[in-house]
Symmetry: C2
Subunit: 421 residues, 2 copies
Amino acid sequence: MRDILPADKARRERVLAVIRERYLAHGFDEIETPVLEEYSRLHAGIGGDNEKLAYNVLRRGLDADAIRAAAADPAALSDLGLRYDLTVPLARFYASNRGQLPTVFRSIQIGAVWRAERPQKGRYRQFVQCDIDIMGDDSARAEAELMVASLDTVDALGLEGATVRINDRRALDWMLDSFGFTAEERPGVLITIDKLDKIGPDGVAAELRDRAVTAHAVDAFEAFLRRPQTMEINAYGERQIRKALPDGAPDEIVDHLVGIGQAVAAGRPSTGSAIDDIPLVFDPFLVRGMGYYTGTIFELAHPSVDYSLGGGGRYDGMIGRFLGQQVPAVGFSLGFERLVDLVTANSDAGAQAVVLVHDADVPVVELVAHKTALIATGARVRLERRTKNLKALLERAAADGYTAFATVPVGASDLEIKPLS
Amino acid sequence: MRDILPADKARRERVLAVIRERYLAHGFDEIETPVLEEYSRLHAGIGGDNEKLAYNVLRRGLDADAIRAAAADPAALSDLGLRYDLTVPLARFYASNRGQLPTVFRSIQIGAVWRAERPQKGRYRQFVQCDIDIMGDDSARAEAELMVASLDTVDALGLEGATVRINDRRALDWMLDSFGFTAEERPGVLITIDKLDKIGPDGVAAELRDRAVTAHAVDAFEAFLRRPQTMEINAYGERQIRKALPDGAPDEIVDHLVGIGQAVAAGRPSTGSAIDDIPLVFDPFLVRGMGYYTGTIFELAHPSVDYSLGGGGRYDGMIGRFLGQQVPAVGFSLGFERLVDLVTANSDAGAQAVVLVHDADVPVVELVAHKTALIATGARVRLERRTKNLKALLERAAADGYTAFATVPVGASDLEIKPLS
């Protein structure tokens, strides 16, 4: 966890304002849930590995006997915890408030989450997630709306050229099945496949053999990984999707993926509305970690970085766990902390920001009057008492986003405002 | 704690945007601190009664022996806690980051805090505070900048007519001293005086007698409370301040209060820049609960409500506890949850928000294309599949801030957009 200083905070708020404005334009509605959720809900097995990283809140009013008794049952020490993602709270929110929400509900959630990760560069224990989700729509329209809105948002942040890698959990399951892996072997095999980018086909085949999974399945999979590829890079359409999978992929899955592409093409006319010219890439080996995904999964990539800027997928089973009735759901999470690092610091163009430098003898009344008069013109104004090193003072003000300055003599009626450069 | 639904969330974000914009214009810089602070810092005696209401976070990695041992020392169960205010974290932030901050640092903090209060109407266990603070300035300029900025912000929210009640802890101490109360009696006497608005002079005198504090001091105080008042209501200036206090109030305190008034007058020219025509009221019986106040204290009042909309004061001793070096500090906290309730829901004027109502047979590609085309014109757009009760659907959309709608037939090239009314 870290303190955020003014220059960083200003950049973060600018990025958040763009994200909020774009997602609202695309018909999503912002909601907010409490930071604390019930312990039992956070530890219901939905959150995967994140459950282990949750910060739990000490139950209030425990006496010495209750604490001693908890030695055998540490879960009794907590009744609340800090959320580790925005998806579990959203499913609970939807179940609690469904009667007041539209049939198809498109949510925006922007908020901090907490995970007790090992401290490392670029990883924080408190970080902001920006999620959009669509509940109540099982059609490809939902995925397309998420992608069009997110690509538009990334464009608006000045990060044009982003692409979405897409796959479907059902395609993965079918593919592993067709190679001959058993259903029991599947979770472990997926963990290995998830490393394909890092360890390559040789590494994947070796690791699978080490795991002693069905041998002929590994052989079949390795042969498929090493097959000659003649596909157009980055093109997307039924032909490309079928070519990237073993023969005989089920129509239902392929049609859903094709439908998403067609709808994204319609929603991104500027990138050429032909389906094989859109910023989607089918990646049959994309896995994504969370166990709750049931259908499409996707990740946002940008040419300037080798990590993903966000991702998501379908989790049609989760809301049913809270509501007792199945509701299809699909979500997309922008990696806010990574986006902030990439976005260039553009201070608010147009608005003048003026530092008024004064000596100790200028009456407070005059200083406040000058400040108010300048604020009334639309400027941002900071008062600074002159220090020995005026240059350093002005440099710091410039770093804080100030664009102009004036010195304030005693009894001045007009101030001469000069650019800070 | 509660879920915040779209219409409420939109109003909250609009209010926050106004507060942020105004405070930035007045030269304050926004910062952010982590929600979790060290347990020892949250329980150092600075937070007053709020310390007892803190949510503490369970220390990670406790084994059965450690839990059993904690029965005798429950504080050992926690190493972190959720902040209960933004002032303790600010003092810690300033001590940690002083080298990177301007000599006089004006901070904005907007964020949630948590207190395990008994649930009651209008009180939440998670609520948002909006604080501005000035560190490093012991002059009346600091108080004046806080007040001018806050009054301007409240005006910008459409709540013109707010006033600030002001007092000084040193004036209270001097006054109680001059009546003959002992220093040991002072905290209890202040608790009683704080009830003056509710129980009146009779109640205050009776309660003080019940407490058996110095009898002649109570007599002197009661006589002062019952003295004939000839003061101009709401006027503010040296004469008025001296008249509201027992004779002989120290110049240092009165001058500081007068200086604040003169500077606020200079910063509020629209309310008439004569000092006795500004929205300040000297209230010699204003107490405010927190023990850390050392000088001026103030509360924001508005004619439409009988509770305060915010308040603050000087706490010149607190930063020294973290930094080991005294730094003057003064802060003002807006009661965000109360402000949100008062501010009328003004949806963003100008921006068109359109609901596109379609039947199930309209291809996804056409829907997404219509949506994108409308968004490109600057509109906010939501897709809605037609339900049996179209009227109810449109009413809900209007409640969510949508201003227009169109029905989408199959194969339409142009849509007829009609106002939602």
